[in-house]
Symmetry: C2
Subunit: 442 residues, 2 copies
């Protein structure tokens, strides 16, 4: 069939590889230039954490190797306290799995090059989609070729919307009856800074560094060139307060992130401390319009970045969509319906978990109760292996559907609570017995 | 100032009266024909329940009298059981207040005629808004005058979006950063039927008739011409099941609404039982773009119709917006910001209550615990008057902000629970004492 993919970002280009591999005629339309001819674009996260779901999805089209080659493994979180102490918390102390820091631009370029290797995949950059007609399976666009003056169209057998959080395809879907949708901005924004590559001072590589400070936090992911991309997450009002006040910005960093300030450099912190970007969480149902169109990735479920699953969930969409469309006994409409039901449920779970994980990263990682539970979880994981996979590990290092991971966690909580009561009874009963005997002996 | 109102429906035309009365230059743009030259349009509810908030808002521009003249008072719900028994539950047994059934078309025509009386109010029907530029306070539209070919524009000092649940103004606002939005369709739809005017058989007028049947329900509101508009609310899947099956539709009505079927007529039920309309709940924040634009009514907060407050909340928006804009000490931007914060909080409350009231209408009205609580509430209302206003009465018969009504209800629940515990203790203590004495006397 002829597949029109709107959006040539990470998810769109991987999706093209899947359809390309199956021999379909694929056309990617993207309003931007080919990223391989472009400099780094501002306003999008620079590097991302690739984990098991993403790797699994890449491996099905045979590109995981070339991508992991460039990824930097991160085996745990490195927590920086205010006083400059550091503490490593491994992601998977039992099986030593790790996540990988990859550059968005690099990954996108690789995937586009991979997609292009299929003769049946055709790239159309500088083509801006203006609207979609689902009934006729047509997309309408303006292209830079003719100065954006003339409205052109293409007609396919399936329209795939992979055009991100502000998706045009989803916007058109919203006009369909019974389309539920929500977009929720959080009151926090983010700003990216950079620790330049250097030889004389460095942070421990192979870690995702976190400076949790309650109301706000700083994180750092390593880049290929030995530099670090540092992201400050903070309430928007706090950004507003500091905006333009060089002295206040410097003393804010000195007070809260003295070690990071030293690495980034005073002048660079002040220079790069401009308006923050916003963070939005998007949910909708359903993801398809009959057998005519489907959305996936951020256009179906944008999430706040605190579980590091946005890209991984999008890649997983591609794998599951491919499985459903090419599974025997399902026609295209049934496959898309099933995809929509399955993925919307799982997207809901990971969107909610991502929101929750923000407070975990800012606060909980420093709390004793949280650390104890994590230790207990890891012991049980070590003892019972696949029977007791802690939440973080199941989200990050398995392909178990997100909603099942969440269900498992709830089951684990119930078990732990019951065990606690049993232990309490078991310890209270002999104590009561001794007290009883002691009183009798008086 | 020059106010551009998008939408000339109920809320848009009342809003024009408010701005007109204050002497502003007002332009209403609506894509439809002037309703005064049109027949009844399909697909919109035919009559509506006007209550205190709506009446208060109408009275400020002096039009409540002419509207109430045409309204039919409904003093309570008439509950129809399956066996044909009927039971009247008054809305306000203490102060005998009632709600009014008014025709949407009639009310709209009246309000447009009222707005037109102001020389500074200008009507532009057959003008379809295509987009809005908030920065320049411009709206762009195509008009039927020139065959919709040419894109024209108008520039004002304030753009008011009163263009309903599928608002174009809101759609443009969604592109602003930090604009939260959700649209949720419920799994139930509705279909309107009619009981024709007749002399030989009739229902008790001055009531809103309800046939609660658990999973679905029928309601009927009286019209001026002695006919009744009957609405069936039911799960969409159930509509699908019955669609096109004449025999099944008839036996469904025979089984569940035998008395209503007799009044509507077999052939009319089958004839009018076509595709159901959908029900959507819409929430968003915020309602304004600086001092440039504001949305109100359904475009800001569409709700499911089960509390009868959609129109009333929209009319109340007009009153509150007028108060804020013309209150001393607030500039336009401050007034719009305050309007947005205040009304979004209250809209959230009434949207949620409306959703909840659906199950109340379908099920609770027949349950003993619900009826007892209602009775207890009414006794306390009678005893303590303004100190104990039951939820339904405060929503329907006062101008207390919706969110406060909800808070009051929560406070009332706590008080009742505490009183219950005190009474329980008070009755248990003497009983224990007697048991103790009795055992001693053995």
């Amino acid at each position: 069939m002829k597949v029109l993919i709107v959006g040539g970002g990470l998810v769109g280009s991987l999706c093209a590889c899947y359809f390309g591999l199956r021999g379909h005629e694929v056309h990617i339309y993207d309003f931007r230039n080919d990223p391989r001819t472009e400099k780094l674009s501002k306003g999008r996260s620079i590097n991302l954490a690739l984990s098991t779901r993403g790797i699994e999805a890449l491996s099905r089209v045979g590109v995981e190797g070339v991508i992991l080659e460039h990824g930097i493994p991160m085996k745990g979180r490195m927590i920086h306290s205010k006083s400059g102490e550091k503490k490593s918390i491994p992601y998977d102390p039992v099986y030593k799995k790790c996540i990988y820091s990859v550059g968005r631009k690099h990954l996108n370029e690789l995937l586009i090059t991979e997609a292009e290797k299929y003769q049946n995949v055709h790239l159309h950059f500088n083509h801006k989609i203006t609207s979609v007609n689902f009934e006729e399976k047509k997309i309408f666009f303006k292209s830079a070729d003719n100065n954006n003056s003339e409205l052109k169209e293409d007609k396919g057998d399936l329209i795939v919307g992979a055009d991100g959080a502000f998706s045009i395809v989803r916007r058109e879907m919203m006009k369909q009856p019974m389309f539920n949708f929500s977009q929720t901005y959080i009151e926090h924004g983010y700003r990216e800074l950079t620790i330049p590559p250097a030889n004389n001072f460095k942070m421990e590589s192979n870690h995702l560094h976190i400076w949790p400070r309650g109301e706000f936090m700083l994180i750092a992911l390593p880049n290929q060139d030995d530099s670090w991309t540092v992201t400050l997450f903070m309430p928007l009002v706090k950004f507003d307060e500091l905006q333009g006040k060089e002295h206040a910005i410097k003393s804010f960093f000195q007070q809260n992130f003295p070690d990071a300030l030293q690495l980034i450099g005073d002048s660079k912190v002040i220079e790069d401390f401009s308006k923050p970007s916003h963070l939005v969480s998007i949910k909708c149902t359903k993801y398809n319009v009959g057998n005519k169109a489907v959305i996936l990735g951020d256009s179906a479920h944008a999430m706040v970045p605190f579980y590091g699953q946005g890209m991984n969930a999008g890649f997983e969409d591609c794998r599951i969509l491919d499985e459903f469309i090419h599974s025997e006994g399902l026609d295209l409409e049934e496959a898309l319906e099933l995809f929509s039901i399955t993925r919307a449920k799982n997207a809901e779970a990971i969107c909610n978990l991502s929101m929750y994980n923000y407070s975990e990263m800012r606060q909980l990682v420093t709390q004793t109760s949280y650390i104890l539970r994590k230790k207990l979880d890891n012991i049980l994981y070590w003892l019972f292996s696949s029977k007791w996979i802690p939440l973080y590990q199941s989200i990050t290092f398995t392909n178990i559907p997100y909603s099942e991971c969440l269900q498992n966690r709830k089951r684990q909580n119930v078990i732990l609570r019951n065990v606690f009561y049993v232990l309490l009874c078991a310890s209270v009963t002999p104590i009561s017995w001794y007290i009883f005997r002691w009183k009798q002996s008086l």
